[in-house]
Symmetry: C2
Subunit: 565 residues, 2 copies
């Protein structure tokens, strides 16, 4: 009769490859119908239950190893469990005979030229090893997931201060000078450099670039959370900087889930600053523009690869030039729009290229104004919203509200730029420039603000569009015909936020020959060797044998020492 | 000495043009420095305060008219206020001498051929007039804002049942057979038909189309909330249907703020069903695809206009054909992905073209799964998420979890399609198809599900991509090389949700000559006349003289009558 038997190994540590191999070996034993070898987390227990492998009454701790065998009889099941130690021992004796230091220190002595440490041990141990690697001046490829956001911020802040790269945590892929770390496809060397918070995104793009006949200079993963506000894209900024300076990289690709608004604006500013054509796929994020200076926005991985290859083909001559505009001004912008959709498109562009925008519209990433009557920071208002139009004509007909608000905004000493839309056509004010023009002239002269106007209409509209444009320009406004030109004007007019300068990332990051120390999954070591890179695998064991209490004490002893390095 | 004096007119109704004109007339009086004439809402009171026009101690009701005058002396201010009635009277006597019926009924008798009623009276009165117009079998252009969502749903449901269009509320623009309603630019007649929940969006696109040398067949506004879940895009669906059948319309444009996911999927399905090239700008919404059958996605108003003009130029030959695939199947899909980014791109595509997706990823519009171990409806899982990888290898290395889950999903009788990704390269499983292939064959044979696989890699990868593809295809899987092809396969495989058939919109909506009855802003009447359309302006007054209590009683008497029309 079918029987399910189990064994719990309290606090035992084995790497995941060993667990997979143990499960497979058990399945091959006589009479065994199914087997599960898992760390006893709640999710894994539920998965065992779904597979009909749960023994009731079990209460293991999440850090315990649970081995379950389902066999044709109780005897068979118990016989299989009795083999576990032999299987684990056999597995170990079959390991290669390469030198396997037991500590990171010994590994570094054995391969001092290694610029990289690859870490793929379980998350709860990973941050400590990464910290150690940084202390030794090594760049880190941190594959491990289940690392806390706090640890990530601390590790990346440390890395940045020391001019080191910390890719990850949960970084699936990288290609450094032709050598793949973690998961990486075999792709041609070429002129396109990638940086991304998206492992399979980088893989799909690099594979497609290869299929289209181009190749990769370097591909730098950052870990999936790098572009979150808390992390501030530390690694993406470093990666972008490396690729900007790398002579082999002609075109840059950035791929990530949609970043936080502030992070997006600073990263896009940095991307513009590289001066290299840069293709951006913030998956599901669509700025109101296909191209902006040297930036090209795409909405799918496939299209991203294609656009990057096309940019390489276009060659040097077609490269976008960095703009060197006139004098830039500190201060905030205030957008006073009559058209809701125009305001929305402006918000989406401005938050990408200027910074976070406060608004009475609902736009992902923008900050909702508590009170639309009070502006703060960069603010864009839709003055046609219901709250403004009770018993009052729409601002496309009646300019009174807008002119009052213009004066109010211009009186705010922190404001240096006003943006307006003027929409012509049937139903609209018969001559808006005749009222807005003098107001523009007035605020420019008395408050020194610049004014940008988006003018919408045709030469057949009753207001005479050329005449309207002339009046607005004579009043000193910069007049554009589409939203993105207005956004570009704003980006060129306002001073970018002060960027802190960090140490340049050590050139060892991308320089050949690639050498690495591997802590964790042996397959990643095998992969480095098979790609011709120098590598040492550390026969890593958790500190204190994986005992939580002891580990906690050890870690407290460490963090309480004075930070004297 | 400067003095501020005021007058409150309790519950008085004047249309907004009159209020604007009164304010301007007051400003021209001797000694007057500033003046405000507003309905006394909280927002308007705050605006008065900002202009230094607030008299303290005032407590008007929001429905009261507040007239404030700031003058060089108390005498001057009071003299100005004393002129108010004379100004209002003068204004009236200067009106044109065209026939001005006092009721909608009389107007309809005077212009029975009018297919349209344009309504721009204050929001709290507007729904009742719209209802009246629908009762008379008229299409409605409802410019008024401040109409409740409940009223909108009720009005549109009624309109749909009767084959009538109700554009709005808060519908800023429309062009019907060359005649602009509300705000509309003078644009060339042409081959592009627009439908949109975005007034200035429609204006900007139609103006740009004109500037690029093409023109507009019809432009149909829907009101800004039409694509919300509560409304279900009733008007957009009707508009799309009209444009699909309109012989003059060769290319369709849809513009809207990002719709709710379910609404987007149904509207995109309808757009595919038109068979006409359709350019879609769901502002800020970017499906993982530039084109999908006859649909072209854009991310800015300017690009939308350009794409539409290009599609007309491409002509009939290049029109996308409607697909007529093989047999479709009812049921749900389950996507089991190893790559997080690939899963995310798939979710974004599937929710656009298949329907709402449950997922353990954070994707705008998608439904977050409570428990990633339990699928429901259409579900897409990232099996590489932290919860799945504690003490277990990543699914790109270890197929065990995925194969178990495939079996579990296939056993769900509501499931008819499984989607997988297979990512090759360094670090990944050395031969994934050897394990996934048999599992695919098994679930196809035993559960009758279809299987689609996204295969990522290059021919230089260690796994031999051609061999992997062969095994997967031999097992019966449909293998694609990019996400959007996988999404297309899913959309072609699954049966679309049952669409209810509604009465066709009466052809009077778009047929010439355009004739309309105007209730509200006189400028809209003037505009119809100046464009050569037949029109009658109703000299509308609020029921019960705008008295809320009386209006309430009247409205209750109306709604309690049996619905016998």
């Amino acid at each position: 009769m079918t029987s399910i038997q189990h064994e719990i190994r309290r606090g035992a540590y084995y790497d995941s490859v060993v667990l997979m191999q143990l499960q497979r070996a058990l399945l091959e034993l006589q009479g065994v119908e199914d087997a599960g070898v898992v760390m006893a987390t709640a999710a894994n227990m539920e998965l065992l239950e779904d597979s009909g492998l749960l023994v009731s009454g079990l209460e293991p701790r999440p850090e315990d190893l649970l081995i379950v065998v389902k066999a044709t009889s109780e005897l068979m099941a118990n016989e299989a469990l009795a083999q576990v130690d032999a299987i684990l021992k056999h597995r170990r004796s079959s390991a290669t005979d390469a030198y396997r230091p037991r500590s990171l220190e010994s590994a570094i002595k054995a391969l001092p030229e290694a610029a990289w440490v690859l870490i793929s041990i379980p998350g709860r141990y990973a941050a400590a090893v990464a910290r150690q690697a940084l202390d030794h001046g090594k760049h880190v490829f941190l594959y491990s997931d289940n690392v806390t956001l706090e640890d990530e911020v601390e590790l990346k802040t440390t890395a940045r201060e020391r001019g080191l790269l910390l890719m990850g945590p949960d970084c699936g892929t990288a290609i450094i000078d032709g050598v793949g770390f973690g998961f990486a496809n075999h792709v041609r060397r070429g002129a396109i450099g990638l940086v991304g918070a998206s492992g399979t995104g980088l893989q799909a793009i690099s594979s497609t670039i290869h299929q289209l006949g181009q190749g990769i200079s370097h591909a730098l993963g950052t870990g999936g959370r790098d572009l979150k506000g808390e992390v501030g894209a530390i690694t993406a900024h470093q990666g972008l900087d490396l690729l900007a300076q790398d002579a082999d990289t002609q075109v840059i690709v950035i791929v990530s889930k949609p970043p936080d608004a502030e992070v997006a604006a600073s990263l896009l500013a940095a991307a513009r600053g590289t001066g290299k054509p840069t293709v951006i796929d913030f998956i599901g994020y669509a700025p109101p523009v296909g191209r902006f200076d040297n930036l090209i926005f795409t909405t799918s991985l496939h299209e991203t690869a294609r656009a990057a290859v096309e940019r390489v083909a276009a060659g040097l001559d077609e490269r976008a030039r960095r703009r060197h505009g006139g004098q830039r001004r500190p201060g905030y912008l205030r957008g006073l729009f009559a058209g809701g959709t125009l305001a929305m498109e402006a918000v989406r562009g401005l938050q990408a290229f200027v910074g976070p925008i406060h608004t009475n519209l609902t736009v992902p990433g923008a900050i909702r104004l508590d009170d639309p009557l009070v502006s703060t920071g960069h603010t864009v208002l839709d003055l046609g919203e219901d709250v403004f139009t009770v018993g009052r004509l729409h601002p496309m007909i009646d300019n009174d509200l807008r002119i009052r608000r213009m004066r109010q905004e211009a009186n705010d000493e922190h404001v240096s730029l006003l943006l307006l839309d003027v929409v012509l056509g049937e139903g609209a004010h018969p001559d808006p420039a005749s009222e807005l023009g003098p107001a523009i002239e007035d605020v420019r002269q008395h408050s020194g603000v610049e004014v940008g106007v988006l003018l919408v209409g045709t030469e057949e509209d009753p207001q005479d569009i050329d005449h309207q444009r002339e009046i607005l320009e004579a009043a000193g406004a910069h007049v554009t015909g589409d939203t993105i030109s207005l956004v570009a004007f704003a980006a060129e007019t306002l001073e970018p936020g002060g960027e802190t300068q960090w140490p340049t990332v050590s050139s060892t990051a991308l320089s050949a020959p690639v050498a690495g120390i591997n802590v964790g999954l042996e397959t990643f070591y095998d992969s480095l060797i098979s790609q011709g890179a120098a590598a040492v695998h550390v026969d890593w064991r958790p500190p204190a044998g994986g005992d939580d209490r002891l580990m906690d004490i050890l870690s407290k002893m460490k963090t309480s020492r004075p930070d004297t390095e």
